[in-house]
């Protein structure tokens, strides 16, 4: 079976978010980039399913040259080969078109990715790819088991979860606890250097909703501390000052 895992190249979760060029560009100074945490879950589960089915696993990223280090990390964790679609990921629709095209061309039967990227948080790409390819797509998927061509899943919903059964081909946006994150070992890191990483040009330039400028939230005022023996004062403040009760 051919499995595709789509990964994002995003700032580490502890990064200080800042913008440059008159608030039109993300400031990557001093920022460490990682595989998106949700994509890391998708990748870990994809490696397990590849091993279970004896298939192949391709990692794909839509990004410029600097994202290759992130793709190499996916190869070190266990992907067999990688594709980089050579473009800045302009918006969800732009990315979905690239994934749909290369997924179709490669004949992948199972496409996994994170439930959302942690930069733009849209959580829309898997559903768009599903509709473009006429495949079912589910997110956020917290469990995914393969039995032949049947896929058994659990999807988190508000206040609980939903158990689902579908058929391949299928797309899932993943989150914990679908699998434990895998840390690359030395052998993985060595072999990643020689695994194939092909660079392809985008198949379409069409966008629909590009971000044009960025803002940081207003600075938070300092905390107002209430004495631990004056708990009713907190109630008064919440009611009369903050007006949230």
């Amino acid at each position: 079976m051919k499995i595709l895992v789509c990964i994002t190249h995003v700032p580490d979760t502890t990064s200080k978010i800042q913008f440059t060029a008159n608030n039109t560009k993300f400031d990557s100074t001093g920022v460490q980039f990682i595989i998106g945490p949700y994509d890391d879950y998708a990748l870990a589960r994809a490696v397990e399913l590849r091993d279970q089915t004896g298939g192949t696993l391709t990692a794909l990223n839509v990004g410029e040259a600097e994202t290759e280090q992130t793709l190499r990390k996916a190869l070190a964790i266990g992907a067999d080969d990688a594709i980089r679609v050579n473009s800045f990921p302009k918006d969800s629709f732009f990315v979905a078109q690239q994934i749909a095209h290369f997924a179709k061309e490669g004949g992948y039967e199972l496409i996994l990715m994170g439930r959302e990227s942690i930069d733009f948080n849209g959580g829309m790409v898997h559903g768009m790819v599903g509709e473009l390819l006429g495949m079912p797509s589910f997110s956020p998927v917290m469990k995914l088991e393969l039995e032949g061509t049947t896929v058994k899943m659990a999807r988190e919903i508000e206040g609980g979860k939903e158990h689902l059964e579908g058929k391949l081909p299928l797309i899932a946006g993943c989150q914990e606890p679908i699998a434990e994150w895998k840390i690359p070992n030395m052998r993985g890191i060595m072999s990643a250097r020689t695994k194939p990483l092909v660079v392809v040009e985008p198949v379409s330039q069409e966008t629909q909703a590009e971000a044009s400028s960025y803002q940081l939230p207003p600075a938070k005022g300092s905390v107002k501390l209430v004495d631990k023996d004056q708990v009713s004062e907190l109630v008064r403040l919440l009611k009369n000052e903050a007006k949230v009760l």
Partner: protein
Amino acid sequence: MSIVVYVEQSAGKIKKTSLEAVSYGFALAAKTGEGEVIAVALGSLAADELAAIGEAGAAKVLHISDERLNAGVIQAHASAVAQAFESTGATTLILAKSSLGDAVAARLAIKLHAGLVSNVVELPRLEGGFVVKRSIYTGKAFADTTITTSKKILAIKKNAVDQKLDGTKAKVESFSATISESDFASKITATERATGEVLLPEADIVVSGGRGMKGPENWGMLVDLANTLGAATGCSKPVSDIGWRPHHEHVGQTGVKVAPTLYIAIGISGAIQHLAGVNSSKCIVVINKDPEAPFFKAADYGIVGDAFEIVPQLTAALKAAY
């Protein structure tokens, strides 16, 4: 021209977040001077419940009563909503962000060839294009996004607008959608849902506990506080990782992102990943015995002290005040 709002139901009740989306649509229609709000509701719903969508601002409700749509079958919902939307000639579709709403919105964007923006936090600006402000970097920043397509879909974040309560009853019309069998091919085999509780992602007030609570057996006092406030309960990642609380209560970067009016954090130190899940809250209260806990820097109000003493006092003070 009308604005269409896709509303979700849960066990025969229209979800509160969907009613907020209707009110967002109403405010947008007022801003653009464009017609009325048409809500699209799916599955078995009582006539009163449908008409009551009008109180949030809808003039009309298109009801697709097919009972197969009671469950959130993603592809079937997308097909049904697409047909209803096209029948109105509208160009803007609004919905509330949710596990179902997001999935349906993504498919609709392709079906309708509509530009889609998620995590929308306020009404669009209309000077020089259709510019939508969205939350990005898990609430650490905002982006102005210009939608360039003629059709537009906005998935709005909780509390983007206040819910309107004083509208009049909506006119309800039935709408018949043609949904192919293949849209029902993936089956929902079982649903596990906490019952009788306020759902965390939709709650106006959230009471969350961390490792400072020392064990699952101590959660009773948080539940008492939550019940007194009509709040949902949440927890930090370590608490859900150890299994003290279920995963769907985990608030943070990789868990549920909440945007309540009031967030009360008890015994949570405030790791940056936790803050990412709560930074859209209007007001944050932190109770922690460690005065150096980083959460105090992100809080509006705080009490330094032992949660085991303070929480019962807080519950009692709230009961006395109401």
